[in-house]
């Protein structure tokens, strides 16, 4: 029996379910394998253009933070990826995956069969859709390269060819596959968003990502991920998502994909259908079961509204729409709009058909539940006590400990408080992430992994509150209270202040804070 089968048509949690409900060990890595590059052996059709000349090899020298010791960085890693040249209003750019260039310290690109590396930099990055635009300052780089154009969403069963620089060799590699199916998939780079993705049976080799998937000399996708345990299944980002990204950055800023924040569930029970004024066995209409804290959605929609049509797409009773002959989750109908745009909805409310327009915007409220990139983690160290924001990235450092009773408060706070006790939600829950051993803190029982409730009586809503609560205290001790069974610890105020510099120096912490 699988007791945690996720309900279908779950708009904003699909991804979360995949990473969370299987039990906290899941955070680790189940889906985190980002494979890149489908490489398809192509029989280059005679006389056709040579897309491989537009395919770029990318080297990213990256350094990721240590989330439970946020002033430290992990060893530099050299990661390889692919990209391809496109024309944007601002000129020629290289498109690739966001995960190929994340946490970059140095980015180098190379042309087809050209030994010279060129310096490159990120211009626009969309972590939610795993796409990036890379600028290369040296104009010589683009000389002789024809930018690739985009095609439409390929049809299932049609053949696509993938170009890239996968592991196993140095030169470009091609593979061919058919389009297996098209539906919403969890985008594992961000971890908590599901968007349209195309599955292909091309042989997938871990290594590179960001390479173009080509059909009739047009780019119909960007290869980006695979799923461990699935054979002959690789995924690429379809033109819909790519065009959305490119339109988004036209104003010089990347906003991201909007989120309606609806939990839409299937409406197939005859009694429920009848109750809501629908024919008992009809095929249309999906029910809104819940709305997260997206103000516009809460204003315009309400639970038990029946979605009949979203953005012109009829909504089926299993919470799906048909998009270009593919049955996909209704979430797609909301994702076509840009941040700030409205989507027309036809719905049934209390038995009456109504038309509404739902303004859509980007939702950042669940940022810490997803994977975070490029912004070095925030922290504050005082008296050797390391305070850091609670996040999915932090939880991952707990490894096997995650799932122990001792960490259950952290899991609850991060994933459940927002839904169950929204009035008690802290904007940035703070964890005592560790203690840098020194005589001022050596006698603390609680040394790490504890969620901070109050410091010197101040409820800690965000990291700045920690700084303020410690700064403003005039008592003999700092009193730090933790969430849970009411445990607390004290720190001698003067001794901690006096020891601060020495502790920072001893442990190589260059700055006591990053706020």
């Amino acid at each position: 029996m699988s007791p945690w089968a996720p309900p279908r048509g779950n708009l904003w949690f699909c991804s979360r379910r995949l990473t969370h409900t299987a039990g906290p060990t899941i955070f680790a890595a189940v889906l985190r394998v980002i494979l890149g590059f489908l490489a398809l052996l192509v029989a280059a059709s005679a006389g056709a253009a040579a897309p491989e000349r537009s395919v770029i090899q990318i080297f990213n020298f990256s350094q990721q933070p240590v989330w439970d010791a946020p002033w430290r960085w992990q060893p530099v890693r050299r990661e390889g990826g692919s990209g391809f040249v496109i024309r944007t209003p601002a000129g020629l750019r290289v498109m690739s995956n966001a995960h190929v260039v994340s946490w970059s310290r140095q980015l180098l690109v190379r042309r087809f069969q050209d030994p010279r590396p060129y310096q490159a930099e990120v211009e626009f990055i969309g972590h939610d859709c795993d796409l990036v635009l890379i600028r290369v300052a040296d104009e010589a780089f683009f000389q002789g390269i024809e930018p690739l154009g985009f095609g439409d969403l390929p049809e299932v069963r049609s053949t696509v060819v993938t170009y890239g620089y996968p592991a196993g060799g140095e030169q470009i590699s091609y593979t061919r596959g058919v389009v297996s199916r098209i539906e919403l998939q969890n985008y594992v780079h961000i971890g908590n968003r599901a968007m349209l993705a195309v599955q292909t049976d091309a042989a997938i080799n871990p290594g590179n990502s960001g390479g173009p998937v080509i059909q009739e000399d047009k780019v119909v996708g960007v290869a980006f991920q695979g799923v461990p345990g699935l054979e002959n299944a690789g995924f690429f980002i379809p033109p819909e998502v790519i065009r959305h990204f490119l339109r988004d950055v036209e104003d010089g800023t990347y906003h991201g994909f909007p989120l309606a924040g609806l939990r839409v569930v299937s409406l197939q029970n005859p009694a429920y259908r009848k109750f809501l004024g629908l024919p008992e066995t009809g095929e249309t209409g999906a029910r809104i079961d819940g709305i997260i804290d997206v103000p516009a959605s809460r204003e315009v929609l309400r639970p038990d509204d029946v979605l009949l049509e979203v953005a012109g797409f009829p909504v089926a009773s299993d919470a799906t729409i048909v998009y270009r002959e593919n049955r996909v989750a209704v979430a797609l109908a909301f994702q076509q709009a840009q941040h700030g745009e409205k989507v027309p909805i036809r719905l049934l409310r209390e038995g009456k058909e109504t038309k509404v327009e739902l303004p859509l915007s980007v939702y950042a409220g669940d940022r810490t539940i997803g994977n975070q990139y490029d912004q070095p983690p925030r922290y504050f160290v005082h008296g050797g006590l390391v305070f850091a924001p609670l996040s999915q990235d932090y939880l991952r450092t707990l490894g096997r400990e995650l799932g122990d009773t001792s960490t259950s408060e952290l899991v609850y706070e991060l994933f459940y408080t927002r839904h169950e006790k929204p009035d008690k939600l802290r904007s940035e829950p703070v964890v005592l992430a560790g203690a840098l051993a020194h005589e001022v803190n050596a006698n603390l029982n609680v040394r790490s992994r504890a969620l901070v409730d109050r410091i010197n009586g101040v409820r800690i809503e965000k990291l700045e509150d920690v700084v303020r609560a410690l700064d403003e205290n005039r008592g003999g001790q700092h009193v730090i209270e933790f969430v849970g069974k009411g445990g607390f610890e004290c720190l001698d105020r003067e001794a901690a202040a006096a020891a601060n510099d020495e502790i920072l120096k001893t442990y190589g912490v260059t700055n006591d804070r990053r706020l």
């Binding site: 029996m1 945690w4 996720p6 949690f13 109750f275 639970p303 459940y416 006698n443 001790q477 004290c490």
Partner: protein
């Protein structure tokens, strides 16, 4: 004969598995007539004082609560005065048959449990047949626990009494096998596998305790001193229910904390960090009190006391060391820098003090099937269906409740555990493990609430609402079809009755 263990679904622990194997070995008994060992022929006189029990008990399947698979195990019991056999309470719950055998072989006599206490993990068993007692004699026992003695563990194996050495490790205070009531336990170090089936532990020819469990190389033993006190209270007709400390404390190793709490001198005492929310006006302790002395024992900065018999052990053991529930235990505390002497009223260890009761013994699991929806109380027994490591494997949201205490608003929880597919519940078949908030507008905390609420549908539908959260919030069922659907489901899935429900009050007050 011994029944198969195949039905024994949730395996309790690695120790349990080993123990089970041990019992399987024990099962290879011959059927030859018992020959009682005569004293003085060089055989161990303990042969006359240690008997085997065979217990068949129901082991409910909480994922299909109407199922009543059984399993049989064998364990030991000690002959005590008054034709009584003393053993642990483990595996005696939901028993259907208990039999006793002496001499490690031969005839089985029907036995009867005269008394048992799950929290104390003790049971007294007797056999009506006179013939059973012929040749048996009470075991010599000792309440004094020598540390340097040569400890031996005794058990019947293939008709012979096996005696093997075990090394003394330490005395320790911990939870019981079936209870959170703290008690003193003897830790022996041994490589003998399959222990924990009430094997007597002896030294110098006297019984010093009964084995309770084994994990790794550590065998935990209930000391006779602990057992004797409870048996004695029972003999005198006194209330012998175990108590426990219902507050949460932390160690006082941090001088800054003690300074903050105005304790002068060396670090010592246990710092109170949580007192029960339901504590009445009689409750003598407050958050941030420092407990300096309990029952005459000084509490050190680890929260330990120095016990003249057992050495350095956690102060929690004093809850059961010389007292029973309902007693007042004198404590010296420091509150706001001022010393105070208080009398702490020792609460009784009951399973109902947890929001999710730890156990529910000697009663069938409750459930209610309505239109294919299976409603069950959320209990630790249910969560143990995910195995011994249920805290990791059960759905996080459910196991998280295990850390909570009941409140007047939330005295218990009911969950929709699964949906047995039927035409009435089309569209809901994948629903699992959702805590029910209301049915037809009525708040649901007990199964009886579900039963009651289902009597009052509105507009021809039943509305089931779930706890606010990251989950489905609401479903509807056709009320006019519900009864017919329930009958259909019961028949199709072979469920003997639509519900097993006990009155909520009894459920709440039950220990």
């Amino acid at each position: 004969m011994i029944r198969s263990f195949i039905n024994a679904r949730p395996i309790r622990s690695a120790a349990g598995v080993l123990a089970t194997l041990g019992v399987l070995l024990l099962a290879g008994l011959t059927l030859s007539p018992t020959v009682m060992a005569a004293e003085g022929n060089g055989r161990n006189p303990m042969e006359l004082s240690v008997v085997t029990l065979e217990i068949t008990a129901k082991e409910y399947d909480y994922f299909q609560p109407w199922n009543k698979p059984t399993r049989s195990i064998r364990k030991h019991a000690l002959v005590n005065a008054g034709r009584e056999l003393v053993t642990t309470a483990q595996n005696l719950a939901d028993r259907t048959l208990v039999r006793a055998q002496k001499g490690g072989r031969g005839r089985w006599f029907n036995a009867e449990v005269k008394w048992l206490d799950y929290h104390a993990n003790l049971a007294v068993v007797t056999v009506a047949d006179e013939g059973f007692w012929t040749g048996l004699q009470p075991a010599p026992v000792s309440e004094v626990m020598p540390r340097l003695a040569e400890y031996e563990i005794i058990r019947w194996r293939d008709g012979n009494l096996e005696t093997r050495r075990a090394d003394f490790s330490k005395f320790t205070v911990g939870d019981g096998a079936l209870s959170f009531a703290p008690r003193i336990q003897l830790e022996l170090n041994t490589e003998i596998s399959g222990l924990g089936w009430a094997e007597p532990v002896t030294a110098g020819g006297k019984v010093l305790g009964i084995s309770v469990s084994k994990g790794g190389n550590v065998c935990l033993v209930a000391p006779w001193a602990f057992i004797q006190r409870i048996l004695e209270a029972r003999r005198q007709g006194k209330d012998s229910a175990l108590g426990y400390f219902d507050f949460v404390w932390q160690q006082s190793l941090n001088p800054a904390t003690l300074q903050h709490l105005k304790l002068e001198g060396d670090p010592r005492g246990a710092v109170l960090i949580d007192v029960p929310k339901t504590a009445g006006t009689d409750y003598a302790l407050k958050k941030h009190d420092i407990i300096l002395e309990v029952d005459g024992f000084a509490v050190d900065s680890d929260g330990d006391i120095e016990d003249p018999e057992f050495g350095h052990v956690m102060m929690e053991g004093l809850a059961t060391r010389r007292h029973f529930a309902g007693d007042r235990i004198p404590m010296k505390i420091l509150r706001d820098g001022k010393p105070l002497e208080i009398q702490y009223l020792l609460p009784q260890a009951k399973y109902s003090v947890d929001l999710l009761p730890m156990h529910s013994f000697d009663e069938e699991p409750e459930y209610l099937v309505a239109g294919g929806f299976l409603f069950q109380p959320l209990t630790q027994s249910y969560l143990r269906g995910w195995g011994d490591d249920w805290r990791r494997r059960a759905p996080f949201r459910l196991s998280y409740y295990a850390g909570e205490s009941p409140t007047p608003e939330r005295p218990a929880l009911v969950i929709l555990t699964q949906v047995l597919p039927d035409p009435i519940n089309i569209g809901y078949q994948d629903i699992r493990s959702l805590v029910v908030e209301k049915i037809n507008g009525r708040v649901v905390r007990f199964l009886a609430d579900v039963e009651e609420a289902l009597k009052a549908p509105k507009d021809g539908v039943h509305v089931v609402e779930f706890f606010r959260g990251d989950n489905l919030q609401r479903v509807l069922l056709d009320a006019t079809q519900l009864e017919a659907a329930t009958s259909r489901v019961l028949k199709r899935y072979g469920i003997p009755a639509a519900s097993v429900i006990r009155p909520p009050r009894a459920a709440a007050a039950k220990s």
